[in-house]
Amino acid sequence: MTMELDDSVVSVHSLCKTYQLGEARVEVLKDLDLSVARGNFTAICGPSGSGKTTLLNIISGIDKPTSGQVIVLGQDLTIQDEDFLAEFRRDSVGFVFQSYNLVSTLTVAENVAFPMEWSRKPEAEIEKRVAELLETVGLQHRANHFPAQLSGGEQQRVAFARALANDPPLFLADEPTGNLDTKNGQKITQMLQMLKANGKTIIATTHDAQIIKLADQKVCLEDGRLASEDE
């Protein structure tokens, strides 16, 4: 089902997410509403455990909400099957995880290439795009190394390149500078700036003041609820 009611790329209504941890029931997101316009850069902040990562996982289609509606790029993700969500993640969303999540047995170039390989793009196109992306993130000299042979900052840049491989309209980043030093953090911020300039819709969870400064919209979560929203 495709819904293009307004210019929102992400539209979340009455979103709830509950986890069962043994006997305990943990409510991570409580009746959350959020809207992100096309080309908008939204920074989501809030203390640890406030539900930032869970919100991002649900918007990306990696996780499903307990209740509520999640419409991303016109698709209601709550009613889609796993195959649809896989294609959606592959073509429409670029996701940068806080812990990088690179495949340890693949080289840097292979890590960047595999979302395109899943899309069954021609070999020549993949080769060209991988070279371009590695040049963009300044890691062309590390193409044949394994992730474990890279620094944290370098791994995060590979994760950025991978997230951009299929040129997705929506870019999600979960605390992209959370594990990095200032210098590497600045590089990541510059990349986000570049993406913003290219018109991508970006949602990033962060505590980083530099990134928050870049954002068009700042959303603060507290205890699973929307605490404040600044434009």
Partner: protein
């Protein structure tokens, strides 16, 4: 945290991995113990059944088969156990590095993990021994092996426990010793864990066969894990091939020995009491007993020469095999050989004595073809003898270098044959010699084989008419019924033995599922990342299925080749392998392969169904 509480808490925290390792270890120990107990019961059963039945040559085939399968079962169990603990401890290399990096001294970290290893191994081995005895008890009662009821051999329990416990400790400690030598940063790195090296030139995977290429890339990158599973499966397939093909080939070979020695579509013509005696001699193969002495040289048993003339002139009869049968006391004749190096004489044999059925035959006119070591009689009046396998084992050291004495005549032994008549306690010599020795001019039994083109019932009716019209005491009897009884007995003995491969396959499959789940666990995070970036769950199952097929087929090729060589060269002398046998063995092995493949998909399906977030963390 105390030194002992850390390992316990750590194991409890890693519930899935710990329980998988303990369960797989338990299954491995239990199945090995159960199969050894079970094969010992079958071996004992066969031995107690064969004491007065079968022939020595056939008993040897049975016992060799059971012994070899027993050794392989132990080897498979040992390899599975070693690999399980190796995999478990290798997966902890990263944790080793983490704890070291946090400042814990090397010796203490090593102590933690060795304590964990000891706890897991001890639990698995103890549970395995208990489950093994339980399975043996249950199966013995369910299948009611009456011939094999004897208490289980309790010595096998400490033997299996000690061997597997030691193996688990050695193979489990190996990766830990290796991790202890690494710097924390190296221990933490997957490059170390997967033995990865740089220098792969980037080449994107083409659209054609993408999933296949992805599967192969992942398989070859994880070289050490792939090689481990291929070695393990190859040994399992050797065991399967030996037990399935060995069992079938041995069954068909021994059946063919009996069928050829007795002869197919044979008609016997003899005095009514001699026919009964001949049937009894053949039935001793499956336990029939003789009652008192039978006078083979009774004049009434002699077959008149006119009968032989009649038979020889009857159309459509291919062979008329006139025999003189009697029971006689025989003696081993010792001999000597010369050592080619020292030229010293070496004595061979002794002067052992015993009773044997003596069968005088015309070597050119025998209806049977034996499985024979050496050759059959050449001359129709030479001093040559062919002895049965049981008498050869009981009375001779190197029969083909020795002679056999019958009364005062000595016959050179030229061959040893497998023969069910009188359970292999038989000696064939030329009929002319036996007639001279006993001063008898007539045979006492005639075996007749018709031409293949003959109308069997018409020719049989003609023989009956011609023979019985003038000789009311003679009986014409078709031997096939007794042959079938012999073959059925042999078949039932093999069908009991063939339960061994069936249980072997079941236990090997259970162990493999455990191992496959541990191995899938190793790739859990990698697949979660692939799914998070766009791979469909089906693609993950296909990747794992392709990896499974590659691993299974590689192991299948190695295991089957080694298994077939072992079966044909070591286990079954002069094997009979017909195209039907090949098809039967191939069908069973491919069924086993397909079954293993389908079961190996279970961990893949489970992995694909689990949420991405759960797999990623």
């Amino acid at each position: 945290m105390s030194e002992t509480s850390f390992p316990v808490n750590d194991l409890l925290r890693r519930k899935l991995q710990t329980s998988l390792t303990v369960i797989t270890l338990t299954l491995s120990v239990a199945s090995t113990l159960f199969l050894l107990l079970f094969s010992e019961r079958i071996g004992f059963g066969i031995a107690s059944v064969t004491e007065d039945t079968l022939t020595y040559g056939l008993s040897v085939v049975f016992s060799q088969f059971i012994l070899f399968v027993g050794i392989l079962i132990f080897a498979v169990g040992a390899v599975i156990t070693s690999f399980i603990v190796f995999l478990m401890m290798k997966q902890r290399t990263k944790d080793f590095g983490l704890i070291k990096a946090a400042g814990c001294p090397n010796g203490l970290v090593f102590g933690y993990f060795i304590t964990e290893l000891l706890m897991v191994t001890f639990s698995g081995c103890v549970l395995g021994v208990g489950l093994g005895f339980g399975a043996d008890f249950a199966v013995s009662n369910i299948f009611d092996f009456q011939a094999h009821q004897k208490p289980p051999n309790l010595w096998l329990a400490p033997l299996v426990f000690a061997a597997f416990f030691a193996l688990a400790l050695i193979f489990g400690a190996k990766p830990m010793l290796y991790a202890a030598r690494l710097s924390p940063i190296k221990a933490l790195s997957p490059v170390q864990y997967f033995d990865l090296s740089t220098g792969h030139k980037f080449k994107p995977l083409s659209r054609f066969g993408l999933t296949l290429k992805m599967a192969l890339r992942s398989l070859f990158r994880r070289q050490s894990a792939s090689v481990r599973i291929i070695i393990l499966l190859s040994i399992v397939f050797v065991l399967l091939t030996v037990s399935i093909s060995g069992g079938i080939i041995a069954n068909e070979t021994t059946q063919s020995w009996i069928e050829n020695a007795v002869g197919k579509d044979i008609i016997i013509i003899a005095h009514t009491s001699m026919v009964a005696q001949y049937k009894l001699l053949l039935s001793k193969f499956f336990g029939a007993k003789e009652n008192g002495d039978f006078n083979y040289l009774d004049e009434r048993l002699a077959i008149p020469s006119t009968v032989l003339q009649q038979l020889n002139s009857t159309p459509k009869i291919a062979t008329v095999d006139a025999r003189l049968i009697l029971k006689e006391h025989v003696q081993e004749v010792s001999n000597f050989t010369i050592d080619p190096e020292t030229l010293a004489t070496i004595p061979v044999g002794d002067n052992r004595e015993g009773d044997s059925l003596i069968v005088g035959v015309d070597p050119q006119k025998v209806t049977a073809t034996w499985s024979i070591q050496g050759q059959f009689l050449n001359m129709d009046d030479g001093f040559e003898a062919v002895i049965g396998d049981s008498i050869s084992h009981a009375m001779f050291s190197q029969p083909l270098f020795q002679s056999i004495r019958l009364q005062n005549w000595t016959f050179n032994i030229v061959g040893v044959c497998v023969d069910p008549i009188n359970n292999g306690k038989i000696t064939y010599i030329p009929i002319k010699k036996l007639q001279n020795l006993t001063s008898t001019s007539n045979p006492n039994i005639v075996l007749v084989k018709m031409e293949p083109s003959a109308d069997r019932s018409a020719t049989l009716a003609q023989i009956k008419d011609e023979i019985t019209s003038g000789n009311s005491d003679l009986t014409v009897f078709e031997l096939d019924k007794v042959l079938q009884e012999n073959l059925s007995f042999l078949s039932s003995a093999w069908s009991t033995v063939m339960l061994l491969p069936f249980f072997t396959l079941t236990s090997a499959t259970l162990c493999l599922i455990g191992y496959a789940m541990l191995a899938a666990e190793e790739q859990r995070q990698e697949f979660a990342i692939l799914r998070a970036t766009g791979a469909k769950p089906k693609a993950i199952i296909v990747i794992l299925a392709i990896q499974s097929i590659v691993v299974l087929l590689s192991s299948f090729a190695v295991g089957i080749s080694l298994g077939v060589i072992t079966t044909l060269l070591i286990l079954v002398p002069k094997p009979v392998v017909t195209s039907a046998t090949v098809l039967e063995v191939a069908a069973l092995l491919f069924t086993a392969l397909a079954g293993m493949f389908l079961l190996s998909l279970y961990p893949a399906a489970r992995l694909a169904k689990t949420s991405i977030l759960k797999n990623m963390t």
